[in-house]
Every structure is written in structure tokens, then in C-alpha cells.
Symmetry: C2
Subunit: 280 residues, 2 copies
Amino acid sequence: MPWFTEMWTPHVKFQIEINAHIHHETTPFQVIDVYDSLEFGRFFTLDGIMMANEKDEFIYHEMIIHTPMSVNPQIKNVLIIGGGDGGSARELTKYPTIEKIDLVEIDERVVRVCQTHFRKTAIGFDDPRVHLFFEDGLAYVKKTTKTYDLIIVDSTDPIGPGEGLFTQAFYEHCYHRLSSDGILINQHESPYFTKEALEMRRAHQKIERIFPIAEVYQAFIPTYPSGHWLFGFASKTHHPLRDVQSSYIHACGQKTTYYNLDLHKGCFALPNYVIEQLKE
Amino acid sequence: MPWFTEMWTPHVKFQIEINAHIHHETTPFQVIDVYDSLEFGRFFTLDGIMMANEKDEFIYHEMIIHTPMSVNPQIKNVLIIGGGDGGSARELTKYPTIEKIDLVEIDERVVRVCQTHFRKTAIGFDDPRVHLFFEDGLAYVKKTTKTYDLIIVDSTDPIGPGEGLFTQAFYEHCYHRLSSDGILINQHESPYFTKEALEMRRAHQKIERIFPIAEVYQAFIPTYPSGHWLFGFASKTHHPLRDVQSSYIHACGQKTTYYNLDLHKGCFALPNYVIEQLKE
């Protein structure tokens, strides 16, 4: 069987044996591939980078959604930037209190391919509260006049189509589009390998300049480079630890496979070497 | 340049570009290799499995030592089983209150090779409080009549020479060799891939039957399979969270690169899927 290879750095490879190469497509924005594998089930890549797989996508999607939702269960209107696989929308729609989810994905083909080949996450699009906009995330937050309680930046790395979603201007527009107690969550790269660690520091510096509260939390995501992945929690008023409510997702009758309230409190405790980097 | 390959599962490879293959040796117990690499600096393997590298060995060694030492700063006598690279001994010798460290390593050649090629960890052997015994760990705990405040099981995986260190008999002997408030720490495999997850469950079941307190904590170790690695904290009286003291290692004037007191409290908060597996 052939092997899918992701270069985690120029000197480190992560390889997955694949059973089938199900889909390959070049869109105006990127290259989409879908594979089947014994170890991770089905997975898809954008420009050759692992985005989500059936084995562990629950970790990323639970952590990006239930962490802010447990801090402010009053959240009703949500903007997702990116998130073309539907996993973030799926987790949000588990809350009966959510009223509207606007999802702005630059590449409609990602959504359509996931709807065909990646039903377990794309099921998030089936909920009538989810509204799809196929346009650039930066352009959207610049022009819209809507207000959101929560913005989720569920983006690719800051190269290619995701680049604008790591700029100072983007974070500033997000700030202005948030309600007075709004929360911004972003995928925040990783502290371990040089490239991601640099992007982590850059993103944190920009967010810290704009939001009075800017914390970082972590999760074990073995299929992303180093397996040590971070999320940013930025907010106008809510603190992710002081203001965390009892586990609201579980009060909604939902089971989670990764997230729980103890873990919510624990995941903001970063290693010293990560704290040092974020201060630089 | 050639690449070092570790099969994380039969379907997943982790590969590191190497600059030099510095040492290769077959001992009566295993094969030892030492490599230089751009990404991880120098690293060594036993039977082809990554043991320690210069980039991230601090994570494993800080977490296996400072976690129990912060729970009971009165610890004076320590037994390390395995730990042939010296990293665990190095972290322990940072405490002026430690009186004696017995280190039982089955393969003297691991110690000697690390003393030659891996000085950053082997420096742990230079302290006069460290006493080396080259024998089987299971046989040692069976025959010794000494009492220890802390036993560190810094072993390889439960195949080959490390196998006996995952048996019920071994854990029972450890229990009897511990003082009335003794603590047992063991490297506890990983919850993510099938093989390590099975060993994790087996080890936990055995330890739980013997020790009144048996908790599990986690660390991000990107060069071990999945990067999600666990340690067991078993104890006769001390609870790792209720009894944690203010950060004793920092009171000793030592800096740590990974460990801190918030992280100590956070690292025992496991994902739901890990909790479920440990209950099985």
C-alpha cells in the first residue's frame, strides 16, 4: 500500500499507510485530497496538510467549541471562519440555546467534498441554524455589520488561503464584530517545532494587543505536527478559568469524548517553555 | 542524508533525518544506537525505539521526578528502576534534601554509552548520592530489604528487557519496598494507539489492585508514539492533587523548562476517552 507523507519539518516526516486515494481536486484556492487509512479511517488534506481524520477529529472540534461555550452558556450567535469540514458547526449545534451560526469558508469545494466524503463532520451543515457564506474571512469581518457572541477561527496554517486570518487587521475586525462580552477562539498553532512556534508567538502578540483577556490552551492532537496543539481564548470580559460554568455541554445531555470540566481547567496550564515563548 | 524510522504502529511511521550514526552495539539485552540529527540533536534508541533526545528529554524527566517530589518534599531515599540515561537521577539530584538514589539498570552498556555520548543526561550519575546496580529490576525489588520513599519505574516498553517491570509481582514488591507514605511513579505508555493503550490499561489495573491511590497524569512528548504520554502516580497515603505542596523544586532555586505547579494540577485532568479506558 502507498504511504501519505506530511513533512512536519524539513527533517521530520509523519507517514500514514493509505488504503485508497478517494478524491483529488485543485480548486482556485488549494488542493484537496481525501484518503482512507487503516489507522485513522478517512482523512482529508489541504495542500498536503492533514486537516481532519475520523480517529481524532473529535479532539480538535470538542476543544475549539466546548471550551468557550462552558465559559458563557448565554452565547446565541456564532461566526465560524473556516471550518469547512463542518465539525465545529456540529459541536455547536448540540446546544439548544444557539440561535444562529454563520460559517464563512473561502472555498466552497471543501464543504462539498466533505459533504460527500466526510459525513461524520459535515453533518454539522444539516442544522437549519447554520448559514454558509463562501467568501474570504478577512473580507467578511471587514464588511459585515452583524454582532456575534462568539467567533471561532477554525483556519488552516497561516500560509495560502488562511494567511489573512492571522493578521492584526483580522483580529481587530473580529474585536469590533463581537458583543460586549464576546469571545474569540482561534486555532493557535503549536509551541514545539520552529515554524508553528513562530506563528504561535506572532498570533498571540497581535491578539494580546487588542483583547483585555488573551489566554492559550492546549490539546493532544497526535495527527498535527508534534501532537501538541494550541488554541487561543481571547475575550472582552469573560476569563476562561474564573468564569467557567458547570459543564454546560453535559447539562445539555451531550456526551463528549475528550472535553470535560476538569480538563477545561487543566488545559490552560502550559509548560514553562511555552509560557516563555508567549511572553517574547 | 539517511532517515531513522520508528514504526509507531504497523501503519504509521515517524521519521527523523539523521546527520550521523554515532554508535551501534548489540548487548546481551538489546541493541543500542546513538544518532545525531538536526531537529532533535543527539538521540539514542533501544531496539530501534526512541528513548531520549536532546530537544525534549527535559519533558519526560521533569515530569517523572518533580511531580512526586512536589507532593512529598520529605522524600530522602529513592529507587530508580531503569533510567540508564541518567536523566531521572539528574533531576532528583537537584534537591539538596535527597540523601540516596539507588539506580537499578539491567544493561550496564546503556549507562556507559550515555556517559560517552549523552552527557547532558548522564551527568546525573556524577552525583555521589547515586549508586548504580546493574541487574534486573524485578529481581532487585524481590530480594532487597531496603525501604524507599519513592520508586521511579523509568523503563522501556513492556517487551524485551522491560517486560518484568509491568507485572503484578513487580508492582507488589515495589509496594512492600516503599515506606508507609511511599510513592511509585511509572512510565505508563499512551492512550492513543492500540498497542500502548492496551499496556496502559493492563498496568493501571494491576497498580490499582495494590495501591489505595492510583492516578494517571499526562505530558506532551512529541517523539513518543502519538506524543500523548502518561505516567502513573501510585501511593500509600499521598494524593497527587490534594497533597501537592508549593513548588518545592523552585524553592530549591531550580528552574524547570516544562514543569510548574499549575501544570502539576492540570496534568491529572485526563480526556474522557482516556478515563473510560482506565475504567475498563
